[in-house]
Amino acid sequence: MVSQLRVSWLLGFLLLGLPGLVRAELTVDINQGVEGGMPIAIVPFGQEGLGGDNLARIIAADLEGSGRFTPLAEAQMPERPVPPEAVNFPVWQSAGQEHVVIGRVVPGVGGGAYEASFTLFDAIRGTPLLSDRIPFKSADARHAAHRIADLIYQQLTGDRSIFNTRIAYITASGAGKTREYRLQIADADGQGAREVMNSSEPIMSPVWSPDGKRMAYVSFEDRTAAVYVQNLSTGERRKVSATPGINGAPSWSPDGSTLALTLSKDGNPEIYTLDVASGALRRVTHDDAIDTEASWSPDGRSLVMTSDRGGKPQLYLVPAMGGEPQRLTYEGDYNARGVFSPDGRSLAMVHGGEGGYRIAVMDTGSRNIKVLTRGRLDESPSFAPNGHVILYTRKDGGRDQLAMIAVDGQGQRNIPIRGGEVRGAAWSP
């Protein structure tokens, strides 16, 4: 029985999954396992008639990437039941599994319509914890899988899930006159990338508005730096800052009304706030040193920024209305690009040390710094909206990647990106 199921699943995968394989170039590879993650088995779904990755594979990758689960490898599964009544709980208990998910996909009403049904079991008690049906169109199969992963994550952790969120990033490719920069948006697992804009001149520092509907970024398309705000659904965009010199490092206030910016129009880089609707500009910092990379605290009262007023780049906290900056970091010669977690209790940053530039988090209460990553050139940290995972860019072994790591340092995963070098990463709200 078991072997029969396995064979039919295999056959189904080979026959139906091949078209999906062609699209799989962004398949995540998990290269740093999770210690102590919650064991869970996501059994391959029965999905006759639907091509592409098995939904179970996508769900397992999502859960593992969260840093809080350790999905069982398919090869180690003792059985592959599809209907709920076929689950043999003792064999899963013997395999050390606390939870088992089974499911199937059946054609729905209308062309390209499907319905995924799944059940999450407590494998110890042998009882169902959650069961649901998700209707979807074939083109949205991955989103249906992310939705199921969301429901499982929320059921078992009680926290907000992030598998249906998006990420923005910039790629650069080519050299000289053929160089091309692209601002792209993809699902949080790197799939379904689409281009927001492209230019032969640099694009930098994308940042989502708090409602996720607009994006601010820096573009050099006019052979000078300018900050733009673009509506993501209509594509309409507006140049909001093009003063002489640097126009950079935009950050949205939590209420979406104001951008913090770096401008050097008054002689050297200083932090300003710009009321996006009225264009009213307010200068926040006054120092001969570099002040840049402002990022708002969740309460909208403060900005964390990078300044070398003490001789080396370090993070400072400054009142958003202006005032005396307070130094936050003392550990190491290089701390930059600070961003607050959604709850304001920690800051992620680029922390430079002897081994390279790494992503670190600081507890804003104790001011203790914990280095999360081990790369040479890890940059551009951005929190997931639930605050549990950080997106960042890395360059290792000649390979540019987006990567994610949980804030406890567990479950790092790479998201290989097409389009060349990867810069500037930003997680949607």
Binding site: T27, D29, A172, A175, R223, A242, A249, D288, T292, V350
Partner: protein
């Protein structure tokens, strides 16, 4: 088993296709309080005013901008790690350009500042502006006029060389002098 093989080779090919590029550069760590961080107000506004006036070399002995030889053919000033000081070996280059600009009042130039890839990209924008301003200051002290020079800070966004080691980084920490019309 079979599908694992298929997947495996796919992942391999993806890995290969995914590693084609690299390069971005930025330079971090800088700082070092530098002489003259405060520089004169930026030259000009956002628009470039390129003119042909003064294109002809005059009596300076510097030769023509387009000759391809002589001190004016060197248009890139490189910097040490963590520094925006113009190194002694590049002073003759800066002096030649200052003299040329002083004797060609209608000629304008863009000073494009760059950084290597290390550290955060927006901080590198600021660092590369410092380097460009350091060259601007030196050019102006030696006779170039404020209105002849503009600054554009590219940070690590336009590396001259891709690569993730010092031999590449040192070629990317630079200021390029770009004459309008040449």
């Amino acid at each position: 088993m079979i599908n694992k093989l298929v997947l495996g080779s796919l992942v391999m090919s993806l890995a290969i296709s995914g590693c084609s590029s690299k390069g971005g550069l930025d330079d971090t760590q800088s700082n070092a309080p530098v002489a003259g961080r405060r520089s004169p107000a930026r030259a000009g506004g956002a628009g470039h005013t390129y003119t042909d006036a003064g294109r002809n070399a005059q009596s300076s002995g510097l030769g023509d901008l387009d000759s391809g030889t002589g001190p004016l053919s060197k248009r890139v000033i490189y910097f040490a790690y963590d520094s925006d000081d113009v190194l002694p070996e590049y002073e003759p280059v800066v002096t030649a350009h200052a003299e040329y600009l002083a004797s060609h009042a209608g000629q304008t130039a863009m000073l494009e500042g760059h950084a290597d890839e290390r550290g955060s990209s927006e901080y590198n924008i600021a660092l590369s502006e410092r380097r460009a301003k350091s060259v601007e200051r030196s050019l102006r002290l030696q006779g170039a006029a404020e209105g002849q020079l503009q600054i554009l800070s590219y940070g690590e966004e336009k590396p001259a060389v891709s690569g993730h080691e010092e031999s590449s980084w040192q070629q990317n920490r630079r200021v390029e002098i770009v004459y309008s019309g040449h």
